[in-house]
Amino acid sequence: MSSGETLASLDYSILQQCMHCGLCLPTCPTYDATKNEQHSPRGRISLMRAIADGRLAPTRGFGEEMSYCLGCLACETACPAGVDYAHLFETARADGERAGVLDHPLRRIVRGLTLKFLFTHPRCLRMAGRLLWLYQASGLQKLARVLGLPRLLPNRLRELEALTPIILAKFSHQLIAPVENPKEKRRYRVGLLTGCVQDLVFADINRDTADVLLANGCEVVTPPVQPCCGSLHAHNGDPETAAGMARRMIDLFNPASFDAIVTNAAGCGSHLKNYGRLLDGDPVYANRAREWDRKVKDIQEWLVEIGFRTPKGVIRERVTYHEACHLCHGQKITRQPREILRSIPGLELVELPESTWCCGSAGVYNLTQPETAMALQKRKVGHIFSTQARVVATSNPGCHLQISIGLARRQADVRVDQPVSLLARAYRLEKD
């Protein structure tokens, strides 16, 4: 949506496109859990339409409903009529925020600190990450947990404490030079997006991504300080900030100077490909945003598009693949990750039952709706066990963390990895 757009000002035909056939219902995790239409895509669209028509004011109930929606976009895959649910959903959350239906002093502080401050100031975000790393690496966190200090926290915070991801010692800019060139002839020039969570928690996967690109003839340009792509803001009802982040991103990576701008985080990718819509009507950025959309590629999409080199290194492992919602539903990328995994000699890929069903991570959903997120996590882990795989591959930091925590809760001997990391490992093994 372009920033400032409301349900009432939206092109009405987007709402009308829903012919309420109901085919989205069985694919919606919240409908599945409740069997209540209100918690289904069709029901939510009817509420949005009621607001657009002026039959319903944005109420607290409406705000809560939009917050209960995972935004997994499984409904978009199921929809026979091609309803643009992502667009509707983001507009609806923004309407709710503007009306302040969920407003609460504490919520305002948390949103201000995260959305408005940390996730718009990449250096401060890294600083916070560094502090958290110190706390963890110094053994303080361990000590605190041994002493049972988290028990002193209020319930909600205690649950959050348990979810704290392990911060890596080195962030992306310490692992990847601003410009790296392939050993062989350069075929493409690509920009590499390092992400926010990916940068703090999975910088090694960013390194793997750069390695895989280099191995396939890509010059890799990685600006050391990158702003958040704005997906967090757009998904959480703050389109104005999201638009600002998009402009900063386009300024940082001039799309005209790259063959592709590559992301390895599905949640970011699904948003990054929609800058055109977000900046539609911006006199300075609209055209560049459209070019940007054409250039943004998920790493797996890009590798298959350029005909990546089949690795020779052998990884003898039984692997299953969990599809990040924003990869399979948001970007319709399903074939490529499997193609990459299958290309690795020795690797046995077993299909995961309900592979496209949300794991409950859904951006910050596991923080805002812990109960539903936990139920989905349990369901996902159950399916992973049924495959008897030792590795579950997925391509989104949120899913990676959510599934890791779920597996750890069950003390499972199963590792989470990303397809691009497995490919990087297979390339490295060639040299041994």
Binding site: S13, M19, G22, P26, L56, F62, G82
Partner: protein, 463 residues
């Protein structure tokens, strides 16, 4: 009539433990079903979890004279589960258990909120087959299927929902519970009341359990796709196949408008200048399937198919079926409002009916794509329109009226599988005659004397 006092408070007091919803955000999602345009807010939505809860709701309804509209997943296409003013919606989506699969008697018993796809899956797991496959089967409930007597793609060879219902548990207006039917193939003890409730669209009772017939699955299947320059030739192919004593399990067609929409959307290489595409499938014993497929191929060529493809394996079969499977999706993307109709004629009148629909579309300046079940004469003229364009909606109305009129003239019907509900109420008398509707009214009054169950659907009580 408005309820005196607080309806939901009274409901909660009258039906202990029942889940009752009455906030605007909770009611709006239940104010429509799968039918275009129709909308009505209910006074409350209640979710029953057992037959006993349904009983308490219908007792309360009779005591307080509040109408009840029963609903499954709300995928109906004639407004059958659209609420009535001042009434409550009784939603059965939470009564969704499969209760028994009896492999010795080839039956399956389930609560009425069980999904059709779940039933089909449970049958398959037992090595059996539940054939009815309405387009919405992934989410439609079996109770809704029975109440609407739903059809599907396999109608020609395997019949419709009615052909698989052996027994029903029904709660009557006032709260009385009856079982009608059993696991016996033969049973002539008295009137077959079960049949009365099939296709009754929630006007005679609330179905809470169904006992279904299962059959052994076909061992083999073969799929073919034929392209024609002329709809007549496709129709003659179908007639010739039937005349050759072959009953294929699928005989589906797309007309020119639909072919173009599918090609625009799915880009699967369909010829944009073709007038008709016929998807044919035969199933059964492998030897019979081979013979039938060869005969069908020959007949299609003799009747002027300009190209014909036979799938060599399952994956290819699926790819041939893509055109038909994408038909509705492709049409639905063309315009903001999609109205799916289901006029039906004896199959020998099909080409004439399809030609007539194309003429009507031209006359009223409307875009109508037609596809459907050529084997059983069940057409799906699909209006691609915009409900906000009043002038165009009037033309849609006029076109529909002409189409239904013509279908009846040809010995057909106004609805093959969607039901009458609200959408086709005004055409019912013209289709079945005044006497038939009068008898329906008498039956309705005998079972629901106060007119509390889905009132105003199919027909009005006063003529």
């Amino acid at each position: 009539m408005a309820f005196p006092g607080n309806l939901t408070a009274a409901l909660r007091a009258g039906c202990a433990g029942l889940e009752v919803r009455d906030q605007p955000e909770e009611l709006i999602p239940y104010s429509f079903d799968g039918t275009a345009v129709l909308q009505q807010l209910p006074a409350a939505v209640v979710f029953a979890k057992s037959t006993q809860e349904v009983v308490s709701v219908l007792r309360w309804s009779a005591l307080n004279k509040v109408p009840v509209v029963t609903r499954g997943s709300g995928t109906g296409l004639s407004g059958g589960s659209v609420p009535v003013p001042g009434g409550i919606v009784l939603c059965l989506s939470k009564m969704d258990k499969i209760l028994e699969v009896d492999a010795a008697n080839l039956t399956l018993r389930a609560e009425s909120g069980a999904l059709t796809a779940t039933i089909s899956g449970a049958a398959e797991k037992a090595g059996l087959f539940y054939p009815p496959d309405p387009g919405s089967m992934k989410i439609s409930t079996i109770g809704g299927n029975v109440a609407e007597n739903s059809g599907g793609l396999r109608g020609l060879k395997y019949g419709v929902t009615r052909d698989y219902v052996m027994g029903l548990e029904v709660v009557l207006s006032g709260g009385e519970v009856i079982w009608t039917g059993n696991k016996c193939v033969k049973d002539v003890a008295g009137y077959t009341l079960r049949d009365l409730f099939i296709g009754s669209e929630g006007t005679l009772g609330v179905i809470t359990q169904v006992l279904l017939k299962l059959i052994p699955p076909p061992a083999a299947r073969k799929t073919m796709l034929a392209v024609y320059d002329d709809m007549e030739k496709a129709a003659h192919t179908v007639s010739a196949i039937i005349a050759a004593k072959i009953i294929p399990c699928t005989l589906e067609f797309l007309d020119r408008v639909t072919i173009r929409c599918v090609e625009d959307y799915a880009k699967i290489g369909l010829p944009r200048d073709a007038e008709a595409i016929l998807l044919m499938e035969t199933d059964g014993h492998p030897a019979a399937v081979e013979m039938e497929a060869a005969a069908m191929e020959k007949i299609a060529r003799e009747n002027g198919a300009r190209s014909l493809k036979t799938a060599a394996h399952a994956a290819e079969a699926a790819s041939l079926a893509t055109a038909r499977r994408s038909a509705f999706s492709a049409l639905a993307r063309v315009a903001p409002t999609t109205i799916l109709e289901d006029a039906t004629v004896p199959r020998n009148c099909l080409p004439e009916m399809i030609g007539f629909i194309q003429e009507v579309g031209k006359k009223h300046r409307l875009k109508i794509g037609t596809f459907g079940h050529m084997g059983d004469g069940n057409l799906h003229p699909t209006f691609l329109t915009d409900e906000k364009n009043r002038d165009e909606m009037h033309r849609v109305e006029a076109a529909m009226q002409e189409i239904f009129h013509r279908a009846v003239e040809l010995g057909g019907t106004i609805t093959g599988e969607h039901g009458v509900g609200l959408a086709k109420k005004k055409f019912l008398e013209g289709a079945v005659g005044r006497e038939n509707v009068a008898i329906m009214r008498r039956i309705k009054l005998a079972l629901d004397p106060h007119g509390l169950l889905n009132p105003g659907k199919i027909f009005d009580l006063s003529s």
